[in-house]
């Protein structure tokens, strides 16, 4: 995956560059906004600092979003005030404040990439299941036979795989799948998850793939 990283602070910039390269990403590191254009076409994600010499990160970010709305932008800034975050999130897809934890940075990159379908692998291993997102195909590895899901079940599973490892609230899932407001106490999602578990879990009574986070929502474990 190609990351375009814009950071003027040499010490931190070089460290992040090395760290992300070590983690297997292809990183292009620029110290200012000049020449951003030529790399955008081939980038999967843009990581932007706010305080830059010349054009600031907000302006660069807005321009990028305008011409390449399909590229996720992550602001990585030492400016942590609410106003800055709100301004940043008007166009950026994530706002990470310094000092960040390197593992957190990678996790967030992964989330963004998945959200924007920047990494759509041929197949994803989900415990004893193998999922082919492009074909919406789910295979039980041990039995090597396909599992047939209803459209809604597939949609839920696909959504949770895209956000694997993250806790998704009932509202988030419901609103993403049904595209209407979640009403407190609505059992629809619960029922769908129960049927989904019956099809994918080895022991639906003790689910290992889709974990219930009581009071909050669900989390899928790869």
């Amino acid at each position: 995956m190609k990351i375009l990283y814009i950071e003027d602070e040499k010490e931190l910039g070089s460290w992040v560059f090395e760290d992300l390269t070590r983690r297997g990403y292809e990183v292009i590191w620029l110290t200012n906004g000049e020449g951003v254009q030529e790399y955008l076409e081939t980038s999967d994600i843009v990581i932007l600092d706010v305080m830059l010499p010349g054009l600031d990160g907000f302006s660069i970010g807005k321009r990028i979003k305008k011409s390449y709305p399909q590229i996720p932008i992550m602001m990585l800034s030492a400016r942590a005030q609410m106003d800055d975050k709100l301004e940043g999130l008007q166009f950026a897809d994530d706002y990470v404040t310094k000092p960040f934890h390197p593992d957190e940075l990678e996790a967030r990159i992964q989330v963004l990439a998945r959200r924007f379908d920047r990494i759509v692998p041929e197949e994803i291993q989900v415990q004893h299941l193998r999922y082919a997102p492009k074909r919406y195909e789910l295979i039980h590895e041990e039995k090597s036979e396909p599992i047939f899901l209803t459209a809604k079940q597939l949609h839920i599973l696909d959504y949770l795989i895209k956000h694997a490892g993250q806790i998704m609230t009932k509202e988030q899932i419901f609103e993403a799948i049904w595209e209407e407001n979640y009403i407190e106490g609505d059992k629809t999602l619960m029922v769908h998850i129960r049927y989904l578990r019956e099809k994918i879990e080895k022991n639906p009574a003790k689910p290992l793939i889709i974990e219930t986070i009581r009071g909050i929502g669900y989390r899928l474990k790869l």
Binding site: L12, A80, M82, L86, E184, G217
Partner: protein
């Protein structure tokens, strides 16, 4: 300001004018009163009493043969000539034979005593009365002519009864003119003052708009001063905004400048931690450094937020927030941390949607600060409970309480922020802390 343009000068001028007008007013009134008499002099009918009397006598005398038709004819002729006059004929027997005005209060038959009293009343009385014998013999009866005295007077006298009304009217008119002039004068002043007041009276903290300077008098000067004041106010406001901007930027820059090296420290600490040859003691040190970076990061965040909050510069946008949803969203970030610390997590939200009118970012901040506290100071309890019963949010831990050494500056400022934000959003909050745990409750007022 030129002296002749001041309101004072004008007012004095008006008073002097009115003083001058008053003495003139009475003769003027008189003049106006007599004016109709002078104008209508020719149109007013006046009769010369002597002339009429001799004409009447002559006419009566000429009626030598007292023929009824002839007499009536004469009387009718006269009536045509003298519209204001009334005439009647009494014959030799004392009978009233003819009267031009049928309503005349005269008897049908004239007895001696009535005749005498009529003559007595008529002499020099009103109406002017002429009694003439018919013919030359004086025993053929008589003719009487009566004209109201008013037609015998000078024209001016005829209008006498209207004099007092006209005169009073004139005086009233003069006074009225004076009153309305002074009222008009005052009304103009009042209007301008009210206009000034209206433009000064601005709602929501804005600056009043400038007023148009009208005449160059005292109010004009006031308007000019008012505009000057607004100019200064605008400049002041601008300066204040600039200073505020500067202050905000300074704070933001300071925050930025503190975080940037902290980011490097964290990055390199991470690299250090990844080193394979690191001893267990070294690993312990790295963990402590990492924790302290977190602490410092938080402290900076809280300090800056606190500065902004206390100066009222922290953006506050309240709206209706679904509390269950807001708590869940906040917990998605904290759950993995509690999980990592092997907490027992107990979340019980309300079974119905409840909306509070609050700022979502502020609310998130409050929850963050509270959860942060639990992670930092109640690790030993290994328990976090988040309960929402529709009215009150309770965040429960089983740590060793906050009154002891864990209640340090960091906690203090974090909770101060919670305190200020909660107060602003009308959420009352309480901490109950003992050595077996802490309960923080948030209740919307």
């Amino acid at each position: 300001m030129r002296l002749n343009r001041t309101l004072q000068t004008r007012y004095l001028a008006m008073i002097v004018c009115s003083m001058l007008i008053l003495p003139i007013a009475f003769p003027l009134a008189s003049f106006v009163t007599y004016l109709p008499a002078i104008i209508f002099k020719d149109d007013i009918i006046t009769y010369n009493s002597t002339e009429i009397a001799s004409l009447w006598h002559e006419a009566a005398e000429q009626l030598s043969s007292p023929m009824q038709e002839e007499i009536i004819h004469t009387l009718e002729n006269w009536e045509e000539m003298y519209e204001e006059a009334s005439m009647f004929w009494v014959d030799e027997w004392g009978r009233t034979r003819f009267k031009t005005d049928p309503s005349l209060p005269i008897p049908e038959l004239w007895n001696p005593s009535y005749t005498v009293s009529f003559m007595k009343d008529s002499y020099g009385g009103d109406p002017f009365t002429v009694v003439a014998f018919i013919g030359s013999t004086k025993d053929d009866g008589f003719l009487v002519l009566q004209i109201p005295r008013v037609f015998m007077d000078y024209p001016i006298r005829q209008l006498e009864e209207y004099y007092q009304y006209i005169y009073l009217g004139m005086v009233a008119l003069v006074l009225l003119v004076f009153i309305s002039l002074s009222w008009f004068f005052f009304k103009r002043i009042r209007k301008r003052i009210v206009q000034l007041q209206v433009s000064m009276d601005v709602k929501d903290k804005g600056i009043p708009s400038r007023v148009k300077v009208g005449e160059k008098d005292e109010i004009g000067a006031l308007e000019e001063s008012f505009n000057n004041m607004i100019h200064q106010l605008e400049e002041g406001r601008l300066r204040e905004q600039e200073e505020e901007q500067l202050r905000k930027e300074l704070i933001a820059n300071l925050s930025h400048d503190l975080r940037t090296p902290l980011a490097s420290i964290r990055a390199h600490t991470f690299s250090l931690g990844e080193e394979e040859k690191l001893s267990s003691k070294g690993k312990q040190s790295v963990a402590i450094i990492d924790k302290k970076i977190d602490y410092l990061h938080n402290l900076i965040e809280n300090l800056l937020s606190y500065t902004l909050l206390t100066s009222g510069k922290y953006t506050y946008c309240p709206r209706d927030i679904d509390i269950n949803r807001a708590i869940r969203m906040s917990l998605t970030a904290w759950y993995p941390i509690f999980e990592k610390e092997k907490f027992t997590i107990d979340i019980q939200l309300h079974e119905q949607t409840v909306y509070w009118e609050i700022d979502p970012n502020w609310f998130e901040r409050i929850l963050d600060n509270v959860f942060q506290n639990v992670v930092r100071h109640a690790l030993s309890g290994k328990y976090i409970g988040v309960l929402f019963d529709g009215k009150t949010i309770s965040i429960i831990d089983k740590g060793q309480g906050m009154k002891e050494e864990s209640f340090n500056a960091g906690v203090g400022i974090g909770l101060s922020i919670v305190h200020i934000m909660a107060k602003e959003m009308k959420i009352s909050w309480e901490i109950k802390s003992s050595n077996t745990g802490t309960i923080i409750t948030l209740t919307k007022e």
